[in-house]
């Protein structure tokens, strides 16, 4: 995967006891193991060996089968717009696995005393809880056209993943043509599972706004916001927009 992951933990009293340190360590191990198994640029990783035919799915670590099942579900949910089997060089779960790993790391942080936690895998974010009662987490969506500004703010209950034309890597290959494709400036998907949200955001980025949003509509619990190359925006009716006003300070501070 090769990325930067940040972890924020919120506690009721502001203290960080040893059990929280232990939870962080577990989360770190989860991420490290995911990287060891699923990194396509590490020749010795299980996914690389699988791609080269040196290992079968049955021989691979159990989490490989779990990710492959998640990939199959996401391919079905996205009507094939997300298809790790259509990537150059064979199966490439990259478009899902970063979110999947962050979601697993988040699970490790559910320990007593923690009222909320956020695992941010380079912009794909898994969270549970909140700042406190009636104070949900607020997550900004980077503006694809305006550096260091936010395009929107959401109230986050679980996961949010964003894909866009700025992304590199095989996961923005159009499975139907086998060629690189990005038909939106930015596609954000919220939902209960970050692996699925990650895959669906990738699917929308490849499919384009109208077909992409049509995919998300029927999927229970998932919502999407698309920013088109011309700057126009479309979203599903339940997209969890939060007021931007409180974010102005951040936007101006970044400028």
């Amino acid at each position: 995967m090769g990325t930067v992951v940040t972890i924020d933990i919120y506690t009721g009293d502001g203290s960080a006891g040893p059990e929280i340190g232990a939870a962080l360590t577990t989360a770190r191990v989860v991420l490290q193991q995911a990287d060891a198994v699923f990194s396509t640029w590490r020749p010795g990783s299980a996914v690389s060996r699988l791609r080269r035919g040196e290992m079968t799915l049955r021989q691979a670590p159990a989490k490989m089968a779990e990710v492959v099942r998640a990939c199959a579900l996401a391919r079905e949910a996205s009507a094939g717009w997300f298809d790790p089997w259509a990537m150059p060089g064979g199966l490439d779960p990259t478009g899902l696995v970063k979110g999947w790993a962050a979601q697993r790391a988040l699970t490790a942080l559910r320990v007593p005393g923690v009222v909320g936690a956020i695992v941010n895998a380079a912009g794909d974010i898994a969270a549970f809880g909140a700042l406190g009662p009636g104070a949900p987490f607020r997550i900004g969506i980077a503006d694809p056209f305006a550096p260091r500004r936010l395009a929107a703010v959401v109230h986050l209950e679980a996961g949010i993943a964003t894909s866009g034309s700025y992304e590199r890597g095989a996961h923005l290959i159009d499975p139907r043509s086998g060629r690189p494709a990005a038909r939106v400036a930015s596609a954000s998907v919220t939902g209960p599972d970050l692996g699925m949200a990650d895959a669906l955001a990738t699917a929308i980025a490849v499919a384009g706004a109208a077909p992409g949003l049509a995919l998300i509509g029927p999927i229970d619990g998932y919502e999407a916001l698309v920013i088109a190359p011309d700057g126009s925006r479309e979203w599903t009716v339940g997209f969890p927009f939060a007021p931007m006003a409180a974010a102005k300070q951040v936007a101006s501070a970044c400028r």
């Binding site: 506690t11 502001g14 490290q32 969506i141 964003t162 590199r168």
Partner: protein, 147 residues
Amino acid sequence: MKRTVIVVVATAAGLAGVLAFHTSPSSVSLAPVKGTDGSSSGPASPARGTASGPARTAVGPQVNFSYGVLSVSVTVRGRSLVRVGIARLSDDGTVRSQSIDQQSIPVLEHEALQAQSADIQGVSGASYTSVGFRTSLQDALHALGLH
């Protein structure tokens, strides 16, 4: 690139800990992070521990990445990472690379700036997949004895 599997850093916003590590589990460092101020306006306080010593900053080497050259700056206090940023960024001036700069590079700066704001807890929308970024970050951490 074998040296670094993945880097877990703390954001500047309400954090409980910092993890920065190499492949070897024995080199894991875990340190609580002190908040940037002594008060909390939120209903729940970010977890805080103790951190000691003056803030120290190191700049990683300039490294090539897919769209130019960058170096990463890291600030630590004690063994706690308090800020990660881009110290220098140059590119080949193409539209593509400008797009990368504008959308990917500022994200960690955003996260650093979250320290000054109780309003945002994260930013979605850019990928740090650059090997160069990690290389420079890791070397900067190493220079500060945090690795």
